[in-house]
């Protein structure tokens, strides 16, 4: 859970193991003061998001450009589990998935966290609110905005591709 969430939030496998170690070390240090008011998994998600946020800040400080998982040579699209389909459909799905990941990394940290926890990790609004220490209404707002930005970003990219294709083909 920790590895896949960090992978999706940070957008690359760079320092992934170090980040995951940091998550478990923080959990180990915090367990004596854990009172069981929430699930351990919720607590773990909170730590994971915090570690991811620190990584975003570190990358901003070092002026690292946003890394798109689809640019990764390890082929992010291959890591997604696809049902059996014909090759063309699979390729289209992979391209679309890569486009979604690219736009996901352009969102704010909070919006990205909410989308990943809601869709990929299948957490409820209440669990996400607890993990991120935010009201449920704020979570819904970030989810709505994140989805809207994703959709608009994908539409913009597709429009650019369509115009570029039209310009080339005449």
């Amino acid at each position: 859970m920790v590895f896949r969430t960090l992978y999706r939030l940070t957008g690359s496998k760079e320092h992934l193991e170090d980040l995951a170690q940091e998550v478990f070390l923080r959990l180990y240090k915090a367990l004596p003061s854990f009172r069981g008011e929430s699930l351990v998994s919720t607590y773990l998600y909170r730590i994971t998001v915090n570690v991811a946020q620190n990584e975003w800040k570190r990358r901003r400080r070092t002026d690292q450009p946003l890394v798109s998982i689809s640019d990764d040579t390890s082929a992010w699209e291959d890591r997604l589990q696809h049902p059996d389909r014909n090759a063309e459909q699979q390729m289209e799905e992979r391209e679309f998935a890569g486009l979604v990941e690219e736009q996901l990394q352009r969102l704010s940290g909070v919006e990205r966290s909410v989308l990943v926890l809601y869709h990929q990790e299948e957490r409820s609004y209440e669990q996400i609110a607890e993990a991120l220490a935010m009201p449920i209404g704020t979570i819904r707002t970030h989810l709505h905005r994140g989805r809207k930005k994703l959709r608009e970003g994908i539409q913009a990219v597709r429009e650019l591709e369509r115009r570029a294709s039209w310009a080339v083909n005449g």
Binding site: Y7, F24, R151
Partner: protein, 116 residues
């Protein structure tokens, strides 16, 4: 009428795109190959080692009591030598110090017996 149909089509396209985006987000990345086999051992190796607590007794209390007893004895002998016992206050004060000294002596003397 035409614009309404277009906005309906646009809404349908957006809804379809939203569903595709949700489907892409719901796909769980396969990270099994990214987790080292000895990951748990690596984390365990970074756990800070707890310092062991010293259980060597220091007997600070006993030494302080001994010093207090010696000081009391010196004060009593000193007061007696300067003749304070002639006044009522002097006698009372001397008795007060004497009782304190006896209590200390009793406590120190029976400490080892109580510790067994």
């Amino acid at each position: 009428m035409g614009s309404e149909r277009m906005s309906e089509e646009q809404l349908l396209r957006e809804k379809s795109l939203d569903e595709r985006v949700a489907g892409a987000l719901e796909q769980v990345p396969d990270v099994a190959g990214l987790i080292p086999e000895d990951f748990a051992a690596r984390v365990a190796g970074r756990v800070p080692v707890k310092k062991s607590v010293s259980v060597t007794p220091t007997h600070y209390g006993r030494w302080v009591m001994l010093v207090c007893g010696v000081v009391l004895l010196v004060v009593m002998v000193g007061l007696a030598s300067i003749g304070m016992m002639r006044s009522t206050f002097g006698i009372l004060f001397e008795w007060f110090l004497c009782v304190q000294f006896l209590v200390l002596a009793f406590w120190l003397g029976t400490r080892r017996w109580r510790e067994g």
